[in-house]
Amino acid sequence: MNDAIDVVKMLGITKYFPGVIALEDVDFVLRKGEIHALVGENGAGKSTLIKVLTGVEQPDKGTIELDNKIVQVHSPQHSQELGISTVYQEVNLCTNISVAENIMLGREPRRFGSIRWQRMNELAQKAINRLSIDVDVTQPLGNYSVAIQQMVAITRALEVLSAKVLILDEPTSSLDIHETNLLFDVMRKLRNEGLGIIFITHFLDQVYQIADRITVLRNGKLVGTYEASSLPRVELVAKMLGRSLTELDAMSKVKSPEAEKKDRLPVVEAKGLGLARSLEPVDLELYAHEVLGIAGLLGSGRTEMARLIFGIDAPDNGSLLVEGKKVNKFSPLESLKRGIALCPEDRKAEGVVGDLTVRENIILALQARYGWFKFLSPQKQSEIADRYIQLLGIATPSPEQLVKNLSGGNQQKVILARWLATNPTVLILDEPTRGIDVGAKTEIQKLVMQLAEEGKSCVFISSELEEVMRVSDRVAVLRDRKKVAEYAGDVDEKTLIQAMAGEA
């Protein structure tokens, strides 16, 4: 055990961005010949840490040592030259050229400027054989699945760049079980040859399947580095959420409903609703006058489920009933008309229309329901905008300010306002309080509970268990893209965490 040689040592890394501390005094050590998992929820700092290691960002404090020598990583190019290679989720290769070219391009064998194809193919074949997978290097990369493409990316990293450190960023997100096992076989082989691998993932099962050690980050700070074999799953989840096991027993419980609301008809009913590679078939019921909390780690299928209910994606399995009627047409507009609203998780790409004003963003969905010709009058628009600016406490110099100029939290409030303005029957909120200050968080939580009291059916998706429990009447737990539990009435945080971790 103590023969372990460190290949990468990051000490005391601190990184600031305007208004936010992305990393604070984080240590991270990668040994030769190990698979080291890096886990953490949103905002934990995983991607920032990797960006620092690969030279995309420069740390404000701290040092990086490579093979016991202090280095400054200037740029991604430089990090590759130093022997640190990254393979991202979106495989950064070109699908229209051959596998061999993807591996060798930039270092391909040439004679007087002319590419020697046969030699290149030979070298590439040899390289990929090193991973013990069966690939014809003369085929275009696009002919192969994403899993194989990732292997090719790994091969390039090893071959062209003689990597000592391989960083795999969420490599299994688009892979099925067989492909994942294939990847893991390759990873084990490389580890046994002495490569240091950093494995970033949110699939805890996989962490335990493959990792030697686990580093947990939370809110930019290091929680700890542990041997995988000595850290029970429940404890891992607890640490990711900032809890210790002993604290859990003393935690608050889900607020119990006033009376058993039996014999009520669900407003929305999902029966075996699923989509391949996205969500396993799920049964779910949404009732009026209540808040349904969805707990689960990142990647557990929460957003996918929300998208199916709201109609952004159409399911390939099961059915969805709204007020008893089967949904045949899946689209945001249809859902809007049926009174379902979704406040999306990625507000920048899916919510905010940056160059439009606060007012315009707020009335957008409402206007969509009215259609092209029933245009809300300027007075009505101002009235609605002012109402919600006040209600949600949106900090903006005026309703005519462009939304892109607002802070992240206020942008989130604008999106929330947009959906509230449509007076929906069902309001699905995907991480509505992410990036919002504590005071505003509480306001929003209170608002959701109030909306439920007024008769709405609210779905509250969040990574923060505390607020899920505070706000919800019932809680459904998702893990690895399926629903694993549902609780109503009294349930404590420990039970939830155990469900999320996969241990009874």
Partner: protein
């Protein structure tokens, strides 16, 4: 054995399809007009469309490089090169000086546009549009009317027939050879140099190409320089074939070039296609024109419709292919 044939067909499906279309159109022409069956008709395709072929080769490389890559200036460069050559030759400058000068001009203009596109981040459409206005404008400034070329060297290149061995009464001109030669050059560049492979990589995913460490910026400028080179050569061939320089030469040729490239199977989004397909696209274009000429009654505007329809079909097929690959 069958498996190998299958792989070959799938790999080169687009090209084979275009070849089939060409053969079909040519066959129809031969059926309708027996005179079209003469071998010379085939060689006339190369003679008449030599400029279009050259320009289309350059256009292919630009479009392959992706990012909305397109070169609208090609017709203008032809006009400018023809009028500039004519004017210089008329004032007694030796053709041995004029020819390299024109080539240099094409390369310089192309590089300038490439630079504006890459470093000023201007859309290729707008930048090459400016190139078009500028080059054609300069051509008009040099001379508003057509200028004849009487130089002996030019005449030789333009008028000396080269007889094709083994095929009686079939000939081409020296200028006709420039196109096929550039085609070979382009094939070599596309498949045997890092320059060409970078173009293909960029066209597919510029971000990936950058991350793979490929010289994207430099390649982008160079591909427009290459197109400028092809346009300059096309201008030289044009001025030799017609023994004149005129500002109104090659109006609309950029459209015919783009259409030929698309029909030849190159995708306008980049990364897919090759110059061989473009050759077929140009030949198809030429065949349609020939058919119309043989018909005599239908006017040239049917070419426009025909080309438009073929372009539509080609784009349709391409979309189908890309949807299929995305699904799998």
């Amino acid at each position: 054995m069958i498996q190998r044939i299958k792989t070959f067909v799938v790999r080169h499906g687009s090209l084979l399809l275009t070849l089939a279309v060409f053969l079909l159109v040519y066959f129809i022409g031969g059926r309708l007009y027996p005179t079209m069956r003469k071998p010379q008709v085939f060689f006339n395709l190369f003679i008449n469309d030599s400029s279009l072929l050259l320009v289309s080769i350059g256009m292919t490389m630009v479009i392959l490089s992706g990012g909305g890559g397109i070169d609208l200036s090609v017709g203008g460069v032809i006009a400018l090169v023809s009028t500039a050559s004519a004017a210089l030759l008329r004032s007694g400058v030796s053709p041995y000086l004029v020819l390299p000068l024109m080539i240099l001009l094409g390369v310089a203009l192309g590089s300038l546009m490439g630079w504006i596109i890459q470093y000023l981040k201007v859309q290729p459409f707008i930048a090459t549009l400016m190139g078009l206005f500028f080059t054609r404008g300069m051509a008009y400034i040099i001379s508003l009317t057509s200028v004849t070329i009487t130089n002996e060297l030019y005449k030789t290149f333009a008028l000396t027939p080269i007889y094709i061995p083994f095929i009686p009464k079939a000939y081409i001109y020296p200028t006709t050879l420039v196109g096929p030669i550039m085609l070979l050059v382009a094939i070599y560049l596309s498949f045997f140099t890092r320059f060409g492979r970078t173009i293909y990589a960029m066209g597919n995913n510029e971000q990936s190409a950058l991350l793979m460490g490929l010289p994207v910026a430099r390649t982008k400028v160079m591909v427009y320089a290459f197109s400028g080179l092809c346009s300059a050569l096309a201008g030289i061939v044009f001025s030799m074939s017609l023994l004149a320089g005129y500002g109104q030469f090659a109006t609309g040729m950029e459209l015919d070039a783009i259409a030929s490239v698309v029909i030849g199977g190159t995708s306008l989004s980049g990364g897919v296609g090759n110059v061989l397909g473009t050759l077929l696209g140009v030949l198809i274009h030429g065949t349609i024109v020939s058919i119309l000429q043989f018909n005599g009654t239908l006017s040239s505007w049917w070419t426009r419709i025909g080309v438009g329809v073929l372009t539509l079909i080609a784009i349709g097929i391409q979309s189908l292919f890309s949807i299929r690959t995305k699904r799998s």
